[in-house]
């Protein structure tokens, strides 16, 4: 009996699945997607590189003057992330003191090419 009830209910409702890629599922705000680095506010402290659980973040030379806590700093390095290796655990975002490295809430292009580096 319970199966019949469910069957009739399903006849009256829309399918549970969506027609991807025409339709897209809504992505929540907290979604951990593709990693991104904001060059303007990164102070080059290397914390992200130290906490990365898969060691996909390396520090590359990128000298630049940065304003941090009302001081002008001379930054020497900035992070470069191998997207193919990144597991999007979010540890870098959690430990970044300025919010320069973060995970965008984007579903696609989150790292299928070995050569792609986010910097």
């Amino acid at each position: 009996m319970s199966v019949l009830v469910e069957m009739f209910r399903n006849l009256l409702t829309m399918p549970s699945t969506i027609l991807y890629p025409g339709e897209r599922v809504p992505i929540p705000d907290k979604f951990r997607g593709r990693i991104a680095v904001s060059d303007e506010i990164c102070i080059g402290c290397s914390k992200c590189s130290l906490v990365c659980s898969v060691q996909c973040i390396s520090m590359v030379d990128s000298p630049r003057e940065i304003r941090f806590k009302d001081k002008i700093l001379l930054r020497k390095k900035k992070p470069a992330v191998k997207l193919f290796k990144c597991i999007r655990c979010g540890l870098c975002e959690r430990h970044c003191p300025t919010g320069a490295i973060y995970l965008k809430n984007e579903l696609s292009d989150s790292g299928t090419d070995k050569e792609v580096i986010a910097a």
Binding site: V3, E6, P28, K30, F31, R32, I87, G90
Partner: protein, 393 residues
């Protein structure tokens, strides 16, 4: 009739994970079952010894794809106890909510798999459709459907926003209605009753002898649940009941899991409505003092144990993981004896096996029978020879 050995696995189209069964059968009846585990050893325990408490958590979450929160929670619970750190009540409640949502999605997944094993694919589709609601809630709260990454030593990584709490509360009545319908379905449907009742029966004494845990033990009348008997997180504050059954067969295990789904809905609702205000984490020390702990947790499949030893550094000296599937395997081998060959899938599925989580050792050169230690370089050389033999670069 002579006994026949039927080998199944380790690589077989019907198996989801690698395991080797050697079924010794007399006609259609199973005389004996020999099980070989550990075909997917990943060296997680050794890898965990080389990472600090921040970097080890994403690794431990990946012990299991279904109970990822269980593994990280049992670990941080142990480390916090060694450090003598008390986490804020709000963090306790958030961990409890995620844990119970995880239990709900695991049990709904299991119900679908069990239905699939008996050929009732309609129920498989329905449970997995409803499981998506739980997955969506988890994704909204944590940012990921499977590996939530909520835990850190000293609390949780992110807070729950009011709109997330209300969205989760809105979904619960629908889920509750669906779970009621599954309860009716399991009791009404002849398809399920015929394949579940009296199959894979285990008495209370057998369960205690073989050391089965979780829903497998509770279905045989063993009234034991770590959440009640050794309370952790917010379970001591929440009103809930341990679900037990006396049937002892696959039907009993199904009833226990569906009963636990009802309890989980109630626990999540209570926690969401009564979540205390305040911080979600404290600054925990980076280094743990010397210590040893046996940390226990009621994962969806049963009691999960992490043995942790620390040595005054920011890494663990030794971690040993005992997953519930390992505790339940002996009971499977025993309750298959004198059953029909056709009952193997449903009896094995009834413990909700997770084989890759269970793999802790790898046996190399078993025909030689000589125990010994193989170095990493030696392993690498063997791998190179094996790759060359297969024409790989």
């Amino acid at each position: 009739m002579p006994e026949v050995t039927v080998p199944i696995g380790p690589h077989h189209p019907a198996l989801k994970e690698p395991v080797n069964f050697k079924v010794i059968a007399d006609g259609e009846k199973i005389v004996r079952l020999e099980l070989d585990l550990s075909y997917s050893h990943r060296g997680i325990e050794k890898a965990a010894e080389q990472r600090d408490f921040i970097r080890v958590l994403p690794l431990l979450e990946r012990v299991c794809g279904i109970c990822s929160h269980s593994h990280s929670t049992v670990f941080v619970k142990g480390i916090e106890e060694i450090m003598q750190v008390e986490i804020p009540p709000r963090a306790q409640y958030i961990r409890t909510i995620i844990a119970e949502l995880e239990r709900m999605h695991s049990h709904l997944l299991w119900l679908g798999v069990a239905a699939h094993e008996i050929g009732f694919n309609t129920l498989f589709m329905w449970t997995w459709r409803d499981r998506e609601l739980v997955q969506d809630t988890l994704e909204e709260m944590s940012g990921n459907r499977v590996h939530y990454g909520m835990n850190e030593v000293g609390g949780v990584r992110c807070d729950l926003a009011p709109h997330q709490v209300s969205a989760a509360l809105e979904r619960l009545p629908f889920l509750e209605e669906r779970i009621h319908q599954y309860t009716d379905m399991v009791n009404d449907q002849q398809t399920m009753l015929l394949r579940f009742k009296g199959v894979g029966k285990l008495s209370r004494e057998e369960v205690l002898n073989y050391g089965a845990v979780g829903p497998t033990a509770r279905a045989s009348g063993v009234d034991y649940d770590v959440r009640r008997d050794d309370p952790y997180l917010a379970y001591a504050d929440v009103p809930w009941n341990v679900v037990t059954d006396t049937n002892g067969d696959v039907y009993g295990r199904t009833c226990v899991r569906i009963g636990e789904l009802h309890e989980s809905v109630n626990i999540v609702r209570y926690c969401l409505e009564n979540i205390p205000e305040g911080p979600v984490r404290i600054n925990a020390p980076k280094i743990a003092p010397d210590g040893e702990i046996m940390s226990r947790y009621e994962a969806p499949r049963g009691e999960l144990v992490h043995f942790i030893r620390t040595n005054g550094t920011n890494k663990v000296e030794r971690i040993d993981i005992r997953t519930p599937t390992l505790a339940n395997w002996t009971s499977v081998a025993m309750c298959l004896v004198n059953k029909n060959l056709a009952d193997i899938p449903v009896i094995v599925a009834a413990i909700d096996p997770c084989l890759s989580c269970t793999s802790r050792i790898t046996l190399i050169n078993t025909p030689g029978g000589k125990p010994g230690i193989i170095t990493f370089d030696e392993l690498r050389k063997r791998r190179q020879i094996s790759d060359k033999g297969r024409g790989l670069p």
